[in-house]
Symmetry: C2
Subunit: 247 residues, 2 copies
Amino acid sequence: MDAKPPTAAILLIGNEILSGKVDDENARYLVRELRTLGVTVGRIEVVPDDQLDIADTVRALSERFDLVFTSGGIGPTHDDVTLPAIATAFNRAIVRRPELERLMREAFGDRLHPRDLRMADVPEGARLERGAATAATTWPVVVVENVWILPGVPAIFRRKFEAIREHFRTRPIHARIVYSRADESPIADALDAIVAAWPTVEVGSYPDADAPDYKVKITLDGRDRDAVEAATAALVDRLGAVVVRTA
Amino acid sequence: MDAKPPTAAILLIGNEILSGKVDDENARYLVRELRTLGVTVGRIEVVPDDQLDIADTVRALSERFDLVFTSGGIGPTHDDVTLPAIATAFNRAIVRRPELERLMREAFGDRLHPRDLRMADVPEGARLERGAATAATTWPVVVVENVWILPGVPAIFRRKFEAIREHFRTRPIHARIVYSRADESPIADALDAIVAAWPTVEVGSYPDADAPDYKVKITLDGRDRDAVEAATAALVDRLGAVVVRTA
């Protein structure tokens, strides 16, 4: 009704996903969380640990989407190049943040290794975000422009996102489902009619050969609850006996 | 050795992955298959069912990588826009291919719905590839320039890729693993030295807080088996008692 709801992109950084050594868990988690919060994810990209590739991709995504979330590449080893890449993307220097160095010295004491301090080196002018419920002694999420920089380790990725998630809550997406006992082709004209009549409703059509009692799952999503309900009712009416059930 | 091994990009097309309604299975499968075949995957992108977005992305990936594999968007409904998008990407018309129409009429007979024939409408000049072991009556994979167009349904995606996989076999990647009982920071200097001494070996460092007997898994990959073995031996020597085991 008022402002356009925010869009987001997710950027996974790491050779390990591209080589199949590790399965992504973070994008899977984040698309569901963002959808619950009402944010539309418009793109996911997976790129290698290559500083220039990351920088180019971050710059492009940052211009095109309201929010960008990165995952991975912020540890202390040679393949952790996300922070310098994001500095490059926005033409900023990398500076050691005293607040981060202090947190690290307090947490590790004598066990602090000099290499750990690389994690306190962040793009100049970065914001440090924790979320309201998190103690000031907790390691923050580093944010540059509209890019939220999250770690790759899934348990920590989730913990960090949970702390900041209320930043992103917006008008929710209302969703309905219609299950069809007919294949896609015989119902395609009916779907076209619904798509044409309700432009604010996103209609998806997903055949499932393994489903016990239906052939196609039709999803109807939108911010305007009344439009989604009206489109669903019109589709059910049009499909008639082909409808197995709705949800 | 001789020519540079081929690089590949994977493009998943579909709102359902971006909204978290469906988990990707195809990129997971394909990165492992391509790695086994010796092909390096340099990028994965997930985009919505948007014809212009798909066209722009296909064009960019096609220029940058030797091979592009797309997944999804080739069925008969309104949200299946991959074939027209790829036609747009390469400035080609969409034409009905008599060979594909005939295959469809033979397979479906009276049950053929007019909408099904949209699947016989492909970019002008597309190649139809089946792989040597596949009967000429099998539905082929449509290929435009270096873009291999695969379906989104995982079981069919796999079957189609299995038929064509020998097209892509190249010099294999040799891989070793070293498990470290020390954290990343104390071993980071040793990793830097190995990375500097063996530029053809890709070194990855992956902390795992849940592993029973190690803290970091270090991977060493490359086309040159001798270099990978020498780098692994040098790393084991340098890390000494920190090494739990190798694989």
